[in-house]
């Protein structure tokens, strides 16, 4: 009975993480399209949500489990996964609140690393894996996307610079429909699979699936796809605003080059088996498309804040994951710890959003 409760909590938390992942990363696919008016905001989130949902069904290679190669598999228990998920959700909500794009995957890895560190000690963490799968891609993604987008916008301005701006702008807006769709599809395929992997892992640990199972139950696929699509449709508007109009004020050609270069980098990396964060890539792309036109076009102060959020993602999510695991462990190995933590987190979110809503009503009344 106790194990059943823990399983239900982990599945619900995984779907909640999937939802935050969707709404946190909506900006990656649609911010530039909305900013350049290639699509209306509602159409953009609806399209992105549908493609995220579809993307979750395209590829089901869920064998890659959470933090594989970074954390000793023997150290990963359902409570560690639960604590890691809470760490990732908390960091996603905090960065969304501040309107800063950050990697949900790095947050999840950070949360699991922190929880595993408390559960099994430093020997459970593979530092080589952290360097190879988090630090190096974290450095490469934005710098490479910056360079690719900058060279792409130079190519574009040189080719179409003498044409009438009307048809050119309409053309690049159309192009953004294609590149935005690619981003959404790739995101659904990549990120919904993380949740499927987590839930499958929990089902294996609980004994619902055999230990060597690679089959993902259909309800897991559908619920993961639905959670990420729903999160995407909800739209993290604060981050969309940051990515679409606060870093640079972009024209349709810049929007196309940022998205096109971003898609080129993400898909080339996927093809070579070198997975990069879509958030890091598109942020670097937007900055590159702006800087190539004029260095001062980029708000470097904001870019610095975004970079700081990236640096803090892993340690902050790890600290929260570690704290959640420590608190849960106080109540033993049963479901009481995760249950109390879940209630506390839900209560905290309710209080924060309730205060925010009442503040908005007060402002509206005045």
């Amino acid at each position: 009975m106790g194990d059943d409760v823990v399983l239900v909590i982990v599945v619900a938390t995984a779907l909640a993480f999937d939802f935050t992942n969707g709404f946190h990363d909506t900006a990656n696919a649609i911010a530039t399209s909305v900013s350049t008016r290639a699509m209306s905001p509602r159409t953009a989130v609806a399209m992105s949500a549908i493609l995220n949902f579809a993307g979750a069904f395209i590829s089901l290679k869920v064998a890659a489990t959470v933090a594989s190669g970074i954390v000793d598999p023997a150290a990963i228990t359902t409570t560690v996964v639960f604590a890691g998920l809470i760490g990732a959700i908390a960091w996603n909500l905090a960065t969304w609140w501040l309107g800063l794009p950050s990697s949900s995957s790095h947050a999840l890895i950070g949360g699991v690393v922190g929880a595993a560190f408390v559960a099994s000690g430093p020997s459970a963490i593979f530092s080589d894996g952290l360097i190879e799968k988090v630090l190096v891609p974290g450095l490469v993604a934005p710098v490479l996307a910056f360079a690719v987008a900058a060279s792409a916008i130079v190519v574009i301005y040189n080719m179409v610079g003498r044409l009438r701006p009307g048809p050119v702008n309409r053309g690049y807006r159309l192009g953004q429909l294609v590149t935005g769709s690619m981003f959404s599809l790739a995101h659904g395929t990549n990120d919904a699979q993380k949740t499927m992997g987590i839930i499958t892992l929990a089902l294996i640990a609980h004994g619902n699936l055999p230990a060597n199972s690679t089959d993902v139950p259909f309800w897991v696929i559908v619920s993961s796809a639905a959670a990420i699509a729903l999160g995407t449709y909800t739209g993290g508007w604060r981050i969309i605003r940051t990515m679409g109009s606060r870093i640079i004020k972009m024209d349709p050609a810049q929007g196309f080059s940022a998205q096109g270069a971003g898609a080129a980098v993400v898909l080339t990396a996927t093809h070579l088996g070198f997975p990069l964060s879509t958030t890091h890539v598109i942020s670097g792309g937007v900055m590159g498309a702006g800087a190539a036109k004029r260095l001062s076009a980029v708000r470097w102060g904001l870019a610095g804040n975004i970079a700081l959020a990236w640096v803090l993602t892993l340690p902050a999510a790890a600290a929260i994951g570690a704290l959640v695991y420590a608190v849960s462990s106080v109540f033993g190995n049963g479901p009481l710890g995760p249950l109390l933590v879940s209630i506390a987190v839900l209560g905290l979110i309710g209080v924060i959003f309730g205060r925010r809503l009442s503040h908005q009503r007060l402002v509206a009344a005045q």
Partner: protein
Amino acid sequence: MTVATIDVGKLFELVWASMVAGAVVAACFSLIIIGVTRAADCRQNRRSGSATAYAALSAVATVVFLGIAVFAISIIATK
């Protein structure tokens, strides 16, 4: 930092392949726009030969761009 954990060859391949892919996507879509815009201008000026040539350029670039999009979807599907 442990250099041994970083596949420098793969990293270098990622850099040049991404640069080429980004430039090809940008150039290809720009050719579509140039073809369509110039073809319309030529038609207005009754230069049907040039209009046809630009329309053909645009059509070829569209086929290449759609080919790139299909290749991208195949990468997503088979990763």
